[in-house]
Symmetry: C2
Subunit: 419 residues, 2 copies
């Protein structure tokens, strides 16, 4: 008789449920559809389970691209400085062609968030910029929902050790898996049914906000007095979305937010971050910024200020907002009290704003969706999209309509009105 290790067993069962949710809820793979997966090397067991479920669901071919943190570090340790502006454009273009031919996209997140924190920031920023430029066409197909896509997380030792500092690695990994399973809402008897209920809740909240057609939101709380104008023809979204290929997918697992497009020229006032922002391995803490005419004109942080300044100076759009999102303080991820240092989780723990690129998905069709039309209606454009938490149990959010009327939306971090 063999007594199985209960921890391994629990992870085995949980990852299988997570894999099934990623395929059936996240991607909603169509018969005959190709699936393109990207994943950290440490996620091989989860990828294998996803691959199995994807084939069972009718996938014609699953192609996985693994990223290896060690190989990335080897570049910073050994490569010549004059080579850091190079990116694998040919590969990013190949992926984009795959999406154009109808492949679904599954990203597994979980690599070490602090991987590059000890490297030369100039080289990090050059490599990252080159990769962003190369990935832009593929990313635009994703953010515009040309195909069904999904992001899920895998616990890796390096990430787990950051989230649970001082905890022995295997225990940290097991705890991080627990946190992922619970945040991903796959612990119930029927995760697919649970996600249907959750999606319904998010859709009703987005519908409510879309019907109100607020001109702006006002955030008030400690250190925060911020008015975020909304783009002309902004749309609120949340939960599952119908991709242009007709497939209803859940782009993020987990997701707790409803979000829309701010007006890039109409943000005024000041705001203080309520959680540290993890950016390429650096924690930027206690951010305080002031907006005028939509642009950050003053910025400070008690930690990571030089990284913050570098981010703000990425390009023309990096000092303006591309997203505003509302998440109740009672959301399960918020209640876990964990700082994941991974946007997929942290942005779902609190109301947030994002610097940089807007989602064209969060804009109506009227007025057109060319880059120029979107910009004219107020949607921001940038190489970056960095979510940044400003919600807490002490935050109020008020909707302002064009006529000057106000509607309380959140008080003490919770929705005022049920939907």
């Amino acid at each position: 008789m063999v007594i199985p290790c209960p921890v391994e067993n629990k992870i085995e069962a949980g990852t299988d449920r997570l894999a099934e949710a990623a395929v059936r809820v996240g991607l909603n793979v169509r018969h005959g559809q190709q699936v393109i997966i990207t994943a950290p090397l440490e996620a091989v067991p989860l990828v294998r389970k996803i691959t199995k479920h994807a084939y069972k669901a009718g996938a014609s071919l699953v192609t996985t691209f693994y990223a290896d943190d060690e190989a990335t570090l080897a570049r910073f340790s050994n490569a010549a400085e004059d080579t850091f502006d190079t990116a694998a454009t040919w590969f990013a273009d190949g992926m984009a062609a795959g999406f154009r031919e109808g492949a679904a996209r599954l990203a597994i997140t979980g690599g070490n968030p602090a991987l590059l924190s000890g490297q030369n920031p100039d080289l990090v920023s050059r490599a990252s910029r080159a990769a962003s430029v190369a990935n832009r066409p593929a990313l635009e197909l994703i953010t515009s929902f040309a195909v069904n896509w999904n992001i899920v997380a895998a616990a890796t030792p390096a990430w787990a050790s950051l989230v649970f500092p001082g905890v022995p690695e295997p225990i940290a990994v097991s705890r991080l898996w627990d946190a992922i399973f619970s945040a991903s809402r796959i612990n119930g008897e029927d995760p697919v049914a649970d996600w249907a209920v959750h999606n319904d809740q998010l859709h009703r909240r987005a519908d409510y906000l879309n019907k109100r057609r607020f001109a702006a939101l006002h955030f008030a709380g400690p250190g925060t007095d911020l008015t975020v104008g909304l783009a002309e023809g902004h749309l609120w979204a949340g939960g599952s979305s119908k991709a242009k290929n007709g497939i209803l997918c859940n782009p993020n697992i987990p997701t707790e937010e409803v979000f829309t497009t701010p007006h890039r020229l109409q943000v005024e006032g000041y705001v203080r971050s309520t959680k540290p922002l993890s950016y390429q391995g650096t924690l930027i803490e206690d951010i305080e910024v002031r907006f005028a005419d939509g642009r950050i004109v003053e910025a400070h942080s008690t930690k990571g200020e030089s990284v913050l300044m570098r981010v703000l100076d990425t390009d023309e759009g990096s000092r303006r907002l591309g997203e505003v999102a509302l998440v109740p303080h009672s959301s399960p991820i918020s209640q876990s009290g964990l700082l994941f240092q991974n946007t997929l989780f942290d942005e779902n723990a609190a109301s947030h704003i994002a610097l940089g690129q807007a989602y064209s998905e969060c804009m109506t069709e009227e007025g057109g969706k060319t880059t120029e039309a979107l910009a004219a209606r107020g949607a921001n454009s940038s190489l970056i999209h960095i979510d940044w938490m400003i919600g807490s149990g002490e935050i109020s959010v008020t909707g302002l309509d064009a006529a000057g009327g106000t509607v309380p939306l959140m008080r003490a971090g919770e929705w005022v009105t049920a939907v």
Copy 2:
């Protein structure tokens, strides 16, 4: 004090030397050049060493694509039968674009040769055909030496267990690494210098054969009486080659052969295999075929005959020869006595012929290298290229010149004339 495990230490040191040889001898990476690696998942430690050496040698970016045998099996176990004609064309095209932009190509071989032996042969053949068609543009850039490229091997548990049946897995893996290191000529004090000597030897042999300009080769031995006409303007090659980007690379590590292009319409007689042919996990043993007008008109084998028949019926060119190669019986790989079930090794253990596609590299420029021109001069074309061992210690090879003269080239499997 920690006493390091001597086996791990030996593999660690050997793979580092192999990695350096792959980068400096195999690819000869140029400063600023991208490198594209494909590898089985089990080869992560070797890939990391190659990555490090590639960056040290000036690579601008190393991108690795891992193949997972488990994921491949998951397709055969779970996917719908109507989806097996799908291939990742978008990805193969992306790689081809990478080569066109100048990236070097490193392939690590070592996946389980018998992986698909238990699967539905019809599905295996449909999937393999679809992949061949998709990969053709990228493969043509490689075989025509548009860029510098190299193949090396990594020992994996599944492969090692096939080569050393009945041996405990870690010991089998260690023995296979030993065999790879020794066949790859990296055990000397200065592998780069040793490879220079070896390349010189192969170049002088190829030069000798190119000067003779034989019209045909005659193979004689037990069960074999075969005349292989050579293509008009055939070129003998062996060892390092200068790619069109000007870089001298060693496409195969190991390599022991000199090889050229047979005339697809001028092969006559019969031939018997001298080693089993491992094809997609099936061992095809004791092959006997008869050629008339360059085409296989009769074929038998004592094992794997149905697989052989399927291979021969792949397309118009799969019953004709695309390569003839001479390897002395005293070559180190031949002397190891091992059947690697991997072409990179087995084709370097004996003289061989290959069914299918010819190498345009093995044809002179005169007369042109368009597909039509190459075909008119006798070079074969096919989706497949399968090397098949016909040499041994009992084989004689004689060169026939156009005037009817004969020159003994090999007797009892060894070169008659030193070069």
